[in-house]
Amino acid sequence: MGGLPLGEITRRLEAWLEVEFTLQDVCGFARAIAALAPSEQDFILDWTQKLSAAHVQLAHLFAGQAPGLLARVDRRLIDAWLVEALDAIDREGLQAAVAVLRAAEGSLALHQGRAESVALTDARGILLTIARGFSGRRLQLEASEGETAWTDGETLHLPALMARLPSAADNFALYKTLVAMLWAQGHFGTTRALAEGALSGHPSPARALSCFNALETLRLEACIARELPGLGRDIRRFRQQGAPLPPAWRGYAERLGDPDAGSRDSLELVPEALSAALPPPAHHQCELRPEAVVARIAREKMLLRLRLSELAGPSPVAREGEQARRFELKRHEDQSGTPGELELFLGDAPVAPPEDVRQLLASVRFDFGDVPPEYLQAAGPGEYAAERQRETRRDPDQVWQGSYHEEGAVLYPEWDVDRGHYRKNWCVMREKDVPPGDLDFIRNTLVKHGALVRRLRRSFESMQHEERLQKRQAHGEHVDLDALVEALSELSGGGEMSELLYARLSRTGRNVAVAFLVDMSGSTKGWVNDAEREALVLMCEALETLGDRYAIYGFSGMTRKKCELFRIKRFDEPYDDEVRARISGIRPQDYTRMGFAVRHLSRLLLDVEARSRLLITLTDGRPEDYNDHYRGEYGIADTRQALLEARRAGIHPFCITIDREGRDYLARLYGPARFVVLDQVAALPLKVAEIYRRLTV
């Protein structure tokens, strides 16, 4: 066997499952695990440990199921399923994660033996691109709660795992077919039929709906076979693998396969088809959810009317005002009479709709083929309830006066070293402005370091030579007269004439963008804060001489829900009094949660076009947060991961710190030659610019 002895397994399980406190018996689990092959033992123990880091109850649930599951189900499937559960606990808490584990327990059992499954998380990027390629709309993609695939017309819901067919290639093809079927529901009129309330008055609506669905599936299959013959072949294959259609249904398939057939034809067939049993659903059959479609349309209608109300300006009191707040869509016609783009009018004046309104209009037109007039009536003052539909952008500070809201924030992942994968959308990041401070601080700094500023300017000036004339070249736009005179005299003296006779303007221009990330954690209070601010003032003076593009952001965080980046200078902002006042206004805040800051600044840096991109961090210590979790190994691992991501994207990270104990962890974070530890706080202002010069010559 070579596996672990029973005693060792029991000991580990007892520790991870906290038997001391939970008093649960793990002997049964341990015996089952001990009977497995070593690699299977490792797999189960490894996951049990990871899950116990998230919550002991998850680990307990898994350890109990695992031995039985492993005998029946592919490991990759189990991996995907557990990652799903961990995402659920991050997103919605323990109950959701337990629900995932329990739900999957049943559905995993349904899957074919050791099917080569495909997880939605792996295929998501490709499927989403395919969906958008088919539709040309910004469709979304989400895991559905069960085994079904359905859509409200905006978001495609697909099963989190696909293991209905034996091979991975087929399972992926099935995913792709589901995407096409859901797209076809919108494109070929099924969604519109649902939106118009088809079958809603039927005596047994549920049965009628599944009958309509089976008929529409046949019709959409034919539509796809015509539009996308490659996919049509896949669908035919899936059909052949399933049970054959009853004879009556073969007739329906023929009728609905006519290119002129529409959802109306399926509706007309429903009463007749209901008289016999429905055929068993094919692998690629989706579900229809009229209530979701109707809810999405109502949401979009309200959203559209609210946005139009904003476009129309302040609401009128008089009755005729209501008329004035009605928009109209007119088709623009050019001289040749060919119909052009639709234009939005308020009264007689054309209105240029912002992008979100344009998208909403496109969506409504997609549902109804046209925009019904009631959609174009700006929302009136009485429709307050509608306010709730809006996703508004609020002032970050206002949000904070409430409880933990995630509105208007950017979400970033965080690397969880214990689990060995990312926690998705974990950090709730907001950009805020630094409140302006006193300009006297800037003036005093410039006076205090006057000589240094002058020296820095000079040394930075020598770095900036934009274009240099290179002489004695084989090619170039000018004749190098000196070289020519020399060559001619050589020639007349009987020598050989040189060919290096041209001068060329060469661009050795700098093409550098740099982002400074300044530690604004509470520990920088006092001395360090002053030194940081002084260093930034000197740095800006030097960078202005050099002409490099630069941005300055401060970071601070307290728990993952309050990760804050303070704008001091954006890349596109000039170094003016406003920026100076913000530098002066930098004040210590909370803790040093760092990963999100590195990730966000990397994103900003990548938006700037530059040959070299630098990310320079000024800090006074290691990453930490107020709960113990981010402190120590976890925080360092996350920061390291964020820096690795940055480096992979072509950004050069560098760190300047005054933490004298920094040497041991900084080499791991930044690499051996990518950081500087300053012994004295007072040296910071003098050194930062100098270090920058060395980095970029």
Binding site: T129, R132, G133, L484
Partner: protein, 272 residues
């Protein structure tokens, strides 16, 4: 050292036979009117939608020689105007393509003008307004453009970069005309005509192109151009399978990103 004979003077090319061009709007009339009134033209549009072919066609139609310069980020003003070379111990002036076009009353087409270095704008501006002159500083000469000369520039507004914007002072000298991919039927017709592909397959290629254009900004910087469709069509007509042709001529050409590439291939597999 180059001998005098080996120096090729940049003679404007006259287009001998009618290039195939399928008009999609009133661009031909606009170009002719601009030429008649000695106005320069700016062609906007995504890559591979037929801007260069259009200029070739117009040069043929107006019976003017054509000088085409593909601009790149090291193209300087002297590359356009000309320079002294040393031949047998003597300096010899060689006209650049722009000066040659002005002298010859040709149509000068500067393709992707925003790629060129900023100093090129200095020589373009006096040519593009009422003065219609090209000063050659190094020779102390000022060329006056004859009536037949026409300056045409093109650029692709689809680029996101702020560095590749055309300045107002430049763009407001030109008559502008926007190009886009033709509608599906016209585009299929172009593919059939240019590649000899069967109409049915050409229509599928166009449908595939539209799917990739749907992805603009969603993983792709730009969708498949008409030019790529013609390439793919030629490969298919030469006996390659549609899947291989789409992969080689289209998918690999528009992206390097593995995931987007896989998705684009799936889209083409759905069609063929």
């Amino acid at each position: 050292m180059p001998s005098p004979d080996s120096l090729v003077t940049l003679a404007p090319q006259r287009i001998a036979s009618e290039p195939y061009y399928q008009p999609t709007g009133d661009e031909v009339a606009l170009f002719e009117a601009a030429h008649r009134h000695r106005l320069p033209m700016l062609l906007k549009g995504p890559t591979g939608c037929g801007k260069t072919r259009f200029v070739e066609y117009m040069a043929w139609r107006l019976n003017r020689p054509l000088v085409t310069v593909a601009c790149h980020d090291d193209l300087t003003a002297s590359d356009l105007v000309g320079r002294y070379l040393i031949v047998g111990g003597q300096t010899v002036w060689i006209d650049g393509p722009l000066a040659a076009a002005v002298r010859g009353g040709a149509i000068c087409y500067l393709d992707e003008i925003v790629e060129a270095r900023k100093d090129t704008m200095v020589v373009i501006h006096p040519l593009a307004d009422g003065r219609r002159i090209l000063p050659i500083d190094k020779r102390g000469e000022v060329l006056h453009a004859p009536d037949d000369f026409m300056l045409v520039i093109s650029y692709n507004p689809g680029y996101q970069s702020v560095l590749k914007e055309l300045k107002q002072s430049t763009r407001q000298r030109f008559v502008a005309c926007e190009f886009d991919y033709p509608d599906a039927a016209t585009e299929a017709g172009i593919v059939v005509r240019e590649s000899g592909l069967a109409p049915e397959l050409a229509a599928k290629l166009v449908k595939f192109a539209q799917m990739t254009r749907n992805l603009k900004g969603n993983g792709l910087d730009e969708g498949a151009s008409t030019r790529l469709l013609v390439h793919a069509g030629q490969l298919i007509a030469a006996g390659l399978s549609p899947a291989a042709a789409c992969r080689g001529a289209i998918a690999q050409a528009i992206t390097d990103d593995a995931e987007t590439l896989a998705a684009v291939q799936e889209l083409s597999a759905s069609l063929f």
